[in-house]
Amino acid sequence: MLQITDLAKYYNGQPVFSGLDLQLPAGRFQVLLGPSGCGKTSLFNTLTGVTPADEGTITWQGQTVPHLGSLCAYMHQKDLLLPWFSLMDNALLPARTRGRDMACARVLAENLFSRLGLSGYESHQPNQVSGGMRQRCALVRTLMFDRDLILLDEPLSALDAITRQRLQHLLLLLQTEFAKTILMITHDVDEALLLADDIFVSSSLPMTLIRRIRLNQPKPRAFDDPDLLHIKADILAHLVKGEAV
């Protein structure tokens, strides 16, 4: 379980977020939903140790840690593939940087390539494939971190609608097949409703959590589910209220 208690970050004395409390049970897909510019990425930067927290504690599996940098895998909205490496070499980067057994890592990556529909493209350069394939390769690389906690920073926001829908199904694999604990940030309400077990709705700057919604609907979900439509209306109302805060 990941527990964040009273976390705060200030820039020039102004709070980006303060007094932030979050409890993320293991194996669940949690989504932090908020308007653009509400400080979601700042929260991720603080969680991963890119910028230090000013107040608060982070506890992972019962241990207090300064940040989650060495404990989590991370997927950015940009695919961040290195253009000088093939797709396979990009996927193998986490293994290579940590000096793991490359033969074992390659077998694992090949399985993931097959699972995510990238077989046959292992030796392609990133600029030779579509945006969706690049993002799937980034997803393989995220899994190759081999960590139980995954932070997803709007990973699908730069994709077209069809590619995004396909990748949403693949993101569910992280939870169902690989039993990962996931925290994703997004401003897309529909995406949150399709993927999340828990949705945390945040206000605009300074970011505060104004609503927590637990979704018990089985996955995969349909957009026209009346329950989801009802929840969507509730979330949108809170987002509007949060913008006004």
Binding site: Y74, L82, P83, F145
Partner: protein, 246 residues
């Protein structure tokens, strides 16, 4: 040939034709300004005389480039890894370029002798700066989001350097190297002017003293050709190494 190549060729032909015509129409003495046709003829006919000198100058330049590479690359990496080092060394780097190489050449000849060493050192001074500065800037230009990714992957500085920073900096490194090799001839020739027994600079000084102006121009032509060949070689190497499109 590309449109820009055709324009460049046209300009060169116009310039040479104008030069040739002016020398002939106004009957300018050859020892003041020889026509291009005579310079070209001299460059070919006198090749057996020029080539050994060109080989010496070429060796000085290549050694200067090699020396610059093996010193500039580690220094640039150290300056990138330790910003305090960059701050401390930057004034010295700038000073090394602010002092005219003409002023240093006589001293270098005194210290390192009339042989090749003083000329190699002169070439090194000139090439070292653009390579170092370009490489530091290239390493620093790496996107912070990639740095974060590598940090989260637990990559050491050495792994991040070899897998991320170095390839990222390569285009700027090659830009600096191109500038370096194109001006490398200046260092070597100035060193030869001040004191040498061989080399194109030495040949130019000797020919000038005897009013053999066509030979002076022929030596300049060979020097320019060497600079262009080096520039092209760096371009070919760059294309071979940087195969990706960002």
């Amino acid at each position: 040939m590309t449109r820009s190549g055709l324009i460049a060729l046209g300009l060169i032909i116009c310039l040479l034709a104008g030069w040739e015509g002016a020398v002939r129409i106004w009957a300018i003495p050859v020892f003041i300004l020889p026509p291009p046709s005579l310079i070209l003829t001299t460059a070919v006919v006198q090749a057996p005389l020029i080539l050994p000198h060109a080989a010496v100058t070429g060796a000085e330049i290549v050694l200067g480039i090699f020396l610059a590479l093996i010193t500039a690359i580690p220094l640039a990496i150290a300056m990138f890894a330790r910003p305090v080092l960059e701050k401390a060394l930057s004034p010295f780097l700038v000073a090394s370029q602010a002092i005219p190489v003409f002023a240093l050449a006589p001293l270098l000849v005194i210290w390192l002798g009339y042989g090749m060493a003083s000329k190699v050192f002169m070439a090194w001074i000139i090439i070292f700066f653009p390579i170092t500065v370009s490489l530091v800037q290239g390493l620093k230009s790496c996107d912070p989001e990639y740095r974060t990714l590598f940090s989260l992957m637990g990559a050491s500085f050495l792994k991040t350097l070899t897998l991320l920073y170095w390839p990222w900096a390569l285009p700027r490194f090659f830009a600096g190297l191109r500038v370096g090799v194109s001006v490398a001839t200046i260092g070597a020739v100035i060193g030869e002017w001040v004191g040498a027994q061989q080399g194109l600079g030495f040949l130019m000084i000797q020919s000038n003293a005897r009013l053999q102006t066509p030979l002076v121009f022929a030596a300049i032509l060979w020097l320019a050709a060497m600079g262009m060949i080096l520039w092209s070689l760096v371009g070919i190497l760059e294309k071979k190494i940087i195969t990706w499109n960002t």
